[in-house]
């Protein structure tokens, strides 16, 4: 017990003193996940809206696929990206394995289906309401997508935040393609795994606390967003 107590004390000390290594790891984590989620949003939002709006062969299959991919295991994504980026892989020449871009790639693959699937649901509901108006006004397909994404912006922000929660908390993908290299690709989750197995609890606990606070902050933001944008009763 005293180990854990002492570990906590040291962990709080690390956070309080803004230890350089500690801060570096936290910032790298945020950087990787933020860029990954931004990429996922750029692809996932229009993709989800398109699946919601347009009738094309295999549309239902794509919808089911997106829902299924929401639960994609991070290690499997990591493994796939690893194979593609490894020296013998199709993109091996890029030399991206064990780098931050590789981690970003892996996390965006993980998050894109989440953003796309949640977007599809949201936009489909809104489309039921908007469809006749948009056709009556002669909106072009791209205009329909843009209008629906904009008018669903608050719900979609929630979807993007959910994606961020997933990205920042996963360990399997970034571990495999990043390699957990000190000062290069080490992020919060991979550090926790490493330091725990080495028995260095303070750093692991400190990062764990940051992750929990981050998760609370994200969910708090989602909650506030819902409250603020609750439909007024006309």
């Amino acid at each position: 017990m005293s180990d854990i107590g002492a570990g906590f004390a040291l962990a709080l000390g690390l956070i309080w003193s803004l230890d350089a290594d500690f801060v570096e790891i936290v910032l790298r984590s945020l950087y990787v996940s933020t860029i990954a989620v931004a990429l996922a949003a750029v692809i996932g939002l229009p993709l989800g809206a398109a699946v919601a709006l347009f009738r094309f062969p295999g549309r239902h299959f794509v919808a089911v696929l997106l829902n299924a991919l929401m639960g994609l295991p991070p290690v499997v994504v990591g493994l796939s990206v690893y194979l593609v980026l490894s020296r013998a892989g199709p993109l091996g020449v890029l030399g991206l394995l064990f780098s931050v871009p590789a981690m970003i790639l892996a996390q965006s693959i993980l998050v894109t289906p989440i953003v796309a699937a949640l977007t599809r649901q949201t936009v489909e509901d809104l489309w039921v309401e908007y469809a006749e108006l948009m056709r009556s006004l002669g909106a072009r397909p791209a205009q329909m997508v843009a209008t629906l994404l904009w008018d669903a912006r608050f719900s979609l922000f929630t979807a993007v935040l959910a994606g961020f929660g997933r990205a920042s908390a996963e360990v399997g993908a970034v571990m495999l393609v990043g390699g957990n290299i000190d000062h290069l690709t080490r992020v919060m989750t991979t550090t926790i795994v490493l330091e725990t197995s080495r028995g260095d609890l303070p750093l692991a606990l400190g990062l764990g606390l940051v992750l929990i606070v981050l998760s609370l902050a994200v969910n708090g933001a989602v909650y506030l967003m819902r409250e603020v944008t609750r439909e007024p009763v006309a």
């Binding site: 009556s136 006004l137 002669g138 006309a234």
Partner: protein, 239 residues
């Protein structure tokens, strides 16, 4: 309004039919609209009034017959307002200008036309409110000028005052009047005889998917030629 070089009128509806699930909902309806007058499609619930409007506006494809306009690209010169106004999750002014935005009208012209439309609807003071907090009557007026701002030759209105109290109904009807005076033809559905009397230049009386009678409003209300029309006026035609 200056008439476009090629008017989309007359609208010719020929043997128009619509079937769904084995039911004939619109049964070979034919009529023509030559001029931008106020046409009221009158009939009891379930007569197919909304359906006929949607078919004319081109929102749903007919099962048979055709809707023919006089000029190419007729969709651009007509508009429709739905029974329950669809309001975008934006401000009132942004809602009114939405159609112009879709058509790529520049910001300055858009602002001027939105201001004019808001004034016509009596919504100028509410321009910056979120549209969805307006009262139902205000929402309906907003929807009316959002359609009118595109300067349609024909405006389809699907029961524009259903569920409105008398004061709100009067406000909506005065906006409809103003739009008509500005040169737009109105095609409106209602089951409200009083409203039909107030607004109609001509009546299309619809019953069970069939066009029973077409007559100038005065003649129709003086004495319908059809038994169904007479029963409806007396209040005897339930369905």
């Amino acid at each position: 309004m200056t008439a476009p070089a090629h008017s989309i009128l007359p609208l010719k509806v020929e043997n128009l039919s619509y079937r769904a699930n084995g039911l004939v909902l619109i049964d070979s309806v034919s009529f023509a609209l030559e001029r931008p007058v106020r046409t009221v499609i009158l009939g009891p619930n379930g007569a197919g009034k909304s359906l006929l409007l949607r078919l004319c506006h081109g929102l749903i494809p007919p099962s048979g017959g055709q809707v023919a306009w006089n000029a190419p690209d007729p969709a651009r010169h007509q508009a429709m307002v739905f029974q329950r106004p669809v309001l975008l999750r934006r401000g009132v002014a942004a809602n009114v200008g939405f159609g112009l935005r879709l058509r790529g009208v520049g910001r300055a012209e858009r602002r001027a036309r939105v201001a004019e439309a808001l004034a016509l609807a009596g919504l100028t003071d509410l321009a910056d409110r979120p549209a969805r907090v307006l009262s139902v009557g205000e929402q309906q007026r907003l929807a009316l000028v959002r359609a009118w701002i595109l300067r349609p030759e024909i405006l389809f209105l699907d029961e524009p005052t259903a569920n409105l109290d008398p004061a709100a109904t009067r406000a909506v009807e005065s906006v409809i009047d103003a739009i008509h005076r500005a040169g737009t033809g109105i095609v409106l559905t209602t089951q409200d005889l009083h409203q039909a009397r107030r607004l109609a230049d001509q009546i299309l009386f619809l019953h069970r998917g069939r066009l029973i009678e077409r007559a100038p409003a005065e003649r129709f209300f003086a004495g319908p030629a059809s038994l169904e029309g007479a029963a409806f006026i007396k209040g005897d035609l339930v369905w």
